[in-house]
Symmetry: C2
Subunit: 411 residues, 2 copies
C-alpha cells in the first residue's frame, strides 16, 4: 500500500475513513461523475455516468447526425473512431498506439480473438491441412460464461477441441497440441487476479497463443499488455471505463502478430480499401484488421467522452486506491459483521485481488435486495455471492465504511 | 402507381411537383424529421434524424444511465430491448412477432445467418460427418462487398465452397450440393429489386436455405418475409429506418427454423438462463437465440425512438410514394439533363426498382461533389455511379424536381 493510504491508527473506522478521504489523491475525480446519496458498488457491472457524456451525446445526435448527417463520417471523425478510441484505451492497458480497435460486443471480440489465435498458432483444421498439429484450445474453467460458450463455437468451427482448465493449472496443461489459451485477468465472481505475466510467458514457451479477457481489470489496475508479451486481448468498456450500457468492446492484437492476424469476421470495415468495393477481401494493415461492420457511433462516442476522465489520472494511482479501498472494506466488514456470517471468497493477498470483493453468505439474493433498499448497490451472483465493485474514480472510503455498516446491520 | 400520384398533365415539372406534394398522403410525416434547406437524397446511406430521438436519448443518458444505473436493465427495459425492437421492425418486413432480434452489425448478422443456414441445410463439415452432402454456398455476385467477405469466411469455417452467382442465375445454379444462398433484396449500386418470392421458392425447392439481406429494402418497400417463406434475413437500421449512425442491425429466423437454428456466436445473451451462469450453453427458445453479447443500449434505444415515426405509416403507402418519386426523378432528369450525359442503371420497370436511382456518368465523383456544394446530397459509388436515395417519409416531389434541375445545370 502506498504512503497515501496508510493507517493513522487508534481511531474509529468512520474517523479513519474521513482521514483517508482527506488525503485521497483521486478524491477530486469524483466530481466528474453524476452520483447521488447511494453507495454505488456496482461499477464493475455498469460504471456511473461521467459528466462529460450528456453534452457530447447531444452534440453527436443534434449536430453531427441531425445537421451534418452523412458528412460526419469524415468531418466528425466517425469513420476513424474505432482506432482513435482504441488508442485512448491503450495506455490504460499498457499498449502502445495502433494495436487496439473498439467495436462489437465482448463476445464477438472473443470469437475474433480465439479463431485468430488458433490460426496464428498454425492450428485447427486449416492448420492441419498445412501440417499443423495444434488442435486444442484451453479455456479458463471459471470463466465468465460467454467466453466459454464462444470458445466452444470457435473450437467447433476450427476443428479443435476445447478443454476447461483452472488458470493455475494452465502451465501443466500446456503442450504440443495447445493452439490457444483464453483466460480472464480477474475472475468475475471471486475477484481473484490471475498471474498474467507468468501465465503469458508459459503459454508463449509452449508455442501457443494467449488471449486475455480484461473485462474486470481494464481501468482498475495496470495490465501491461506490451510489457508482458500478451498476444491478443479483449475487454468491455462499460465497467471500470464507464462507457455506458452496452458500450462497444475492444480487441488488442499485438503488433508483431498483426500481419498474420486472420479474422473470422472480415467485414468491409477491415478492408484495405473499404470504399473500393472490390469483391475480394484485402485486409487492412494494423489494428484496423480487427474491425468488422459499421461502428455504432452513438455508443462509441459516448465512450470517447467518458474516457476524458482519464486525462489526468494514472492507472497506477487507481490501483493504489483500489487496494486501499478493498483492504478497508474487508477491515470494516470484519468489524461490523458478526463473525461467521460471511466468508470472503476474494483473496486476501493484494497481488491476487482485482478491484472487487465477493462475500459468500446464506440467502445472498435476499441480503443484496435489502442492501439495495438501504442505498448500498452491489449485485448478487448465483448461487451465494454478494459482489461489491470498487471504482477508485468515484468511490470514497466513507462510502466503504457506510456500506459495511449497512451490511453489518442485516445480520 | 396509385391514384394519389397520377399525373395531372399539361403543366411544368415544377407545377407538377407542387401538385403531387399537395396530395401526398405521407406529406405530414416530413415534419417529424429534422431537415434543412438541402435536398437530402442520401437516406439510403444514413437516414435523417427523427425529432423523437434527441429527447429520448437525453432521458436514456441522464435518467436511465445516470440515475437508475444498473436498475435500468430491468426497470427501463434494457435487457429485453433486442426482441422488443425486433417486434417493432417485424411488421415493416412482413414478419409476425417473435422472429427478429436487433443487435450487432449487419456483417456480424450475415455471419450468424450464413453459418446457421449451412447447419439448417445439414451441410458443411459438420453435416458431412452426419452424412450430408451439401457443401456449397451461393452468394450474389453483385452483393454489397461485406456480405461476400463474410460469406467467404463462413464457407471456410464450415468446410463449404463459395460460388458467386448473379441473382437471376441462381435458379440454374441451385443443386443437390447447395447448402445456402445469400442474396441482396435491392442491389446497393444499381437499385435493382430482385425477385424475392420466386428466388426464395426456387431455393426452397432445391432443399437449400435462403438468406436475404434487406439493407436497401426494409423501410422502403414491402418485403413479405413470412408470406414468401424466407428462411433467414438480416438488415441494417440506419438507412430507411433512420436509426442513426451505425445503429444495430437485425436478424430474422423463421419460426419453423428457430428450434434448429444453431448460431456460431452463442454468447451469454442467447442462453435460456443467462444469469444462471452455467458452463454449458443451452440456447434460448425463439428469436432470442440470435442474440450474442450485451446490447449497445444507446444506439438501440435511439433506434426504438426513431421507429415511432412508423406508428401511423403503412409500408404500402411508402412503396406507392417511393415509386412515384423515382418515376418523377427519372422524368425530371430526362427533361433537364442533356441527352446522353447520363445513363440510368436502375431498371425502368417499377417491379424491378427499389427506392433509389443510380445514374452513370463520366467524372461521377466530381459531379457529386458539385451537386453537394449546391445543396443536393447524394453519394458516389466507384467507379462511375451517382446514387440518389428517396426516403418517402421526408423527401417530397419538389425536392426531386429541384435536385434534377441542379443536376441538369452541371452539364
Amino acid at each position: 500500500m502506498s504512503e497515501t493510504y496508510t493507517d493513522s491508527g487508534g481511531t474509529s473506522l468512520a474517523e479513519k475513513a474521513a482521514a483517508l478521504d482527506a488525503v485521497d489523491e483521486l478524491g477530486k475525480v469524483r466530481a466528474q461523475f453524476v452520483l447521488d446519496d447511494t453507495v454505488y458498488l456496482d461499477g464493475n457491472s455498469l460504471g456511473a455516468l461521467p459528466r462529460s457524456v450528456p453534452g457530447r451525446i447531444e452534440d453527436v445526435v443534434r449536430r453531427q447526425w441531425g445537421s451534418l448527417r452523412i458528412r460526419s463520417w469524415d468531418e466528425s471523425g466517425w469513420w476513424t473512431a474505432p482506432e482513435r478510441i482504441g488508442d485512448r484505451i491503450a495506455p490504460l492497458v499498457g499498449a502502445a498506439p495502433g494495436q487496439i480497435v473498439v467495436g462489437d460486443s465482448t463476445s464477438v471480440n472473443v470469437f475474433k480473438a480465439v479463431v485468430g489465435a488458433v490460426r496464428l498458432a498454425g492450428g485447427g483444421a486449416d492448420g492441419g491441412a498445412l501440417g499443423g498439429t495444434r488442435d486444442e484450445i484451453l479455456v479458463d474453467a471459471t470463466t465468465f460464461p460467454t467466453d466459454g460458450y464462444i470458445a466452444a463455437s470457435a473450437a467447433r468451427l476450427t476443428g479443435c477441441t476445447l478443454r476447461p482448465v483452472a488458470p493455475e493449472e494452465v502451465p501443466d496443461a500446456l503442450g504440443g497440441r495447445t493452439a490457444a489459451v483464453l483466460l480472464n485477468h480477474v475472475d468475475y465472481r471471486t475477484g481473484r487476479l490471475h498471474d498474467l505475466p507468468a501465465l503469458t510467458a508459459a503459454i508463449r514457451e509452449a508455442g501457443a497463443v494467449s488471449v486475455w479477457d480484461l473485462c474486470h481489470s481494464a481501468g482498475a489496475l495496470p495490465v501491461g499488455l506490451d510489457e508482458h508479451g500478451v498476444d491478443l486481448a479483449v475487454g468491455c468498456t462499460y465497467k471500470y471505463l464507464n462507457g455506458g450500457p452496452g458500450s462497444p468492446a475492444y480487441l488488442y492484437v499485438r503488433r508483431d502478430h498483426q500481419a498474420r492476424f486472420d479474422s473470422p469476421l472480415p467485414g468491409w470495415n477491415s478492408h484495405a480499401d473499404p470504399f473500393g468495393m472490390t469483391p475480394d477481401h484485402v485486409p487492412a494493415d494494423g489494428a484496423l484488421r480487427g474491425r468488422v461492420g459499421t461502428p455504432d457511433i452513438l455508443s462509441m462516442l459516448a465512450l470517447e467522452a467518458a474516457l476524458e476522465v482519464w486525462d489526468d489520472v494514472s492507472i497506477e494511482a487507481v490501483r493504489r486506491k483500489s487496494l486501499a479501498l478493498t483492504d478497508f472494506f474487508l477491515e470494516c466488514v470484519a468489524e461490523y459483521v458478526p463473525a461467521g456470517a460471511l466468508e470472503s471468497v476474494t483473496p486476501g493477498a493484494q497481488g491476487e485481488r482485482g478491484s472487487q470483493v465477493a462475500l459468500r453468505c446464506g440467502d445472498a439474493g435476499g441480503v443484496m435486495r435489502r442492501l439495495i433498499e438501504r442505498g448500498v448497490i452491489g449485485d448478487f451472483r448465483e448461487p451465494d455471492i454478494l459482489r461489491f465493485g470498487f471504482t477508485p474514480l468515484y468511490v470514497g472510503f466513507g462510502d466503504v465504511e457506510r456500506a459495511a455498516g449497512v451490511l453489518g446491520g442485516l445480520f
